[in-house]
């Protein structure tokens, strides 16, 4: 029996040791591989359970009435636990957003690709740096150097199209999926 513990297999039997060894190695490897796949498969339910649950995913889309928002005003609505900025832009703000040359932008995007109607800008109010809520919604808030939003956490400046202009954030404020139901009503999600 002792010979079987020697994988080198050059035992006293004169048995075909080399063949036996490679067969044994194959069986070890195959057993190990099956075991690894089994462990990975068993781990998946544990890992995936930490992803958003069905009720979290099922968060209904919301409708926003834009009628009360006067020109120059902004409102913040909550959608999927995050703030959404809706700004009724003035003509000057639209102008400023359109005039910028794309070469000056860190994350180049023309203004008309970021809005469905030029006077309504809808963006997620979440700084693309580390997720703070930028200031600029209230009239008294600092709006940053580009008259859009300013993130107080690490100093990112966004323009009147919600595009990143200065500071550590890598990308523009995200435009969520939304649709105009009527002239003064949008649905988010």
């Amino acid at each position: 029996m002792a010979e079987t513990t020697h994988p080198s297999g050059t035992g006293a039997h004169g048995a075909p040791g080399g063949d036996d060894t490679s067969r044994r190695d194959f069986l070890y490897l195959a057993t190990g591989a099956v075991g690894a796949v089994g462990v990975a498969a068993a781990a998946w339910p544990f890992i995936d359970s930490m992803n958003p649950a069905a009720d979290t995913l099922a968060l209904a889309s919301i409708e926003v009435d834009l009628a009360p928002v006067a020109e120059g005003q902004s409102i913040t609505v909550t959608w999927r636990g995050k703030p959404v900025f809706v700004r009724h832009r003035t003509a000057a703000e639209i102008d400023a957003a359109k005039k910028v040359s794309l070469g000056d932008l860190r994350d180049p995007a023309p203004d008309d690709k970021r809005v469905q109607k030029a006077e309504w800008l809808v963006v997620l109010g979440v700084c693309t740096h580390l997720g703070c809520v930028p200031l600029g919604q209230k009239p008294t808030d600092p709006k940053g150097e580009y008259d859009g939003w300013f993130c107080p956490c690490h100093g990112s400046h966004y323009d009147t199209s919600g595009r990143i202009r200065k500071g550590p954030a890598p990308a523009n404020l995200v435009v969520p999926q939304y649709a105009f139901l009527s002239d003064n009503r949008i649905r988010l999600g």
């Binding site: 890992i47 930490m50 992803n51 958003p52 649950a53 979290t56 968060l59 913040t76 909550t78 999927r80 636990g81 995050k82 703030p83 109010g125 740096h129 580390l130 997720g131 703070c132 809520v133 930028p134 200031l135 993130c151 107080p152 956490c153 690490h154 100093g155 550590p168 954030a169 890598p170």
Partner: protein, 422 residues
């Protein structure tokens, strides 16, 4: 066939157990007769102090967990209930909250002790790396614990720190969603943080046991950084070091108690007494003081991914430190040039910590950048080069020599004699 362990204990019950499971022999070996270099100073007590802090944190945390409710609707109120209604709840919570700070104070002093006396060098590399693992686990545990009261700093700290992972391309956003269990920091996040905050201290305890096991293989380093040549250079752990450690523990606990009883909120942020509001970010988000140097490094880099990598890199350099330092001499006592740079590093850590608490603009940003540059220069460039260039000052032949003046040979004569009066 079965052979019992030959136990030396007199007490028949102890002997009976010990011969079947030699825990008493092990404890006697590791905590009674374990030889400690006889020249260790009070900086060697911070390991024991950190151990005591871990026990205090687990004990207070256990009873706090019996009162705390990990639900966003009532978490904040349940903490206030602990403060106002639960018997001694205020005491237990303040001991726990300040305990985190004092645990980090002990561990940071423990780490700088290791840096100064070269405790990370061969053969203690694994011991050091296990220590870095404990440090990482502590940071994760402290961060998640700070989220639990569900105040403004809890919420926004959690948002900023979990968003760090979104810096990684492609996998970043799915990872953040997975960490949150939703699309923002919310109830699922709070729940899992509580579960992990409860689990990780016991993981830390396990790794601390490994840390101690690794320590007891190589033995403790000492201020001279030279190995004990024999029993004349050591004293038994008990009573010499137990008493010394206990005295240090008592002094440390006195300072800790001053904070707990007279300024329990000094190290915290008033913003965390405002319930979490996902729609309003506080004007100035700062982590707890023990994360500030790393936070300064994060903000010093003007690129998101770069900042995150630099912050993690600041800890990663500690892992490879045993190979970055090319000098064979352990203790700074005999490294005249490096000794000065050690203090520059210590100052750099303090400056980074201060800059991390300030707004990331103007001069503070510049200072944080200089501090970050020095931090990495120190570990990645200075240490490898200095080890080759520096000429160490002459070292004594043994631990006893500088004291007895006669050198190791004379002390060797004392070898045969009993140790009591050594």
């Amino acid at each position: 066939m079965a052979q019992a362990h030959a136990s030396n204990f007199k007490n028949p019950v102890v002997k009976w157990i010990d011969s079947r499971l030699p825990v008493f022999t092990m404890l006697h070996h590791e905590y009674n007769e374990y030889p400690m270099p006889k020249n260790v100073n009070y900086l060697w007590a911070f390991g024991a102090i950190a151990g005591i802090m871990l026990v205090i944190m687990i004990a207070t945390g256990l009873v706090l967990a019996m009162q705390y409710a990990a639900n966003t609707a009532i978490a904040f109120d349940s903490v206030e209930r602990i403060m106002r209604d639960v018997n001694y709840g205020w005491l237990l919570r303040y001991v726990h909250a300040n305990g985190a700070s004092f645990f980090f104070i002990a561990v940071y002093l423990h780490m700088f002790r290791g840096l100064y006396y070269g405790s990370y060098k061969a053969p203690r590399e694994i011991l050091w790396i296990i220590g870095v693992v404990i440090f990482l686990l502590m940071m994760a545990t402290a961060f998640m614990g700070y989220v639990l009261p569900w105040g403004q700093m809890s919420f926004w700290g959690a948002t900023v720190i979990t968003n760090l992972f979104s810096a990684f391309p492609i996998v970043g956003d799915p990872i953040v969603t997975w960490l949150w269990g939703g699309f923002s920091v919310d109830n699922p996040t709070l729940n899992r943080f509580f579960a992990l905050h409860f689990l990780l201290p016991f993981v830390i305890l396990g790794v601390v046991i490994l840390h101690t096991a690794a320590l007891h293989i190589c033995g403790s380093n000492n201020p001279l950084g030279i190995d004990p040549k024999g029993p004349q250079d050591t004293v038994p752990f008990n009573p010499y070091i137990t008493v010394k450690d206990l005295f240090a523990v008592v002094c440390f606990l006195i300072v800790y108690a001053i904070f707990v009883f007279f300024m329990p909120n000094y190290l915290g942020h008033p913003d965390n007494y405002i319930p979490a509001n996902p729609l309003v970010t506080p004007a100035h988000i700062v982590p707890e003081w023990y994360f500030l140097p790393f936070y300064a490094i994060l903000r010093a880099i003007p690129d998101k991914l770069g900042g995150v990598l630099a912050m993690f890199g600041a800890i990663a350099v500690l892992v490879i430190l045993p190979w970055l330092d090319t000098s064979k001499v352990r203790s700074c006592k005999f490294r005249p040039i490096y000794r000065q740079f050690f203090w520059v590093l210590a100052l750099d850590a303090l400056v980074l910590g201060y800059a991390g608490a300030m707004p990331a603009e103007g001069n503070w940003l510049l200072i944080a950048r200089i501090g970050t540059a020095y931090y990495f220069f120190h570990f990645l460039i200075l240490l490898p080069i200095l080890g080759k260039l520096e000429r160490p000052s002459p070292m004594p032949a043994s631990i006893s020599e500088p004291v007895l003046k006669g050198g190791g040979r004379v002390a060797a004569g004392a070898h045969a004699k009993p140790m009591e009066k050594a």
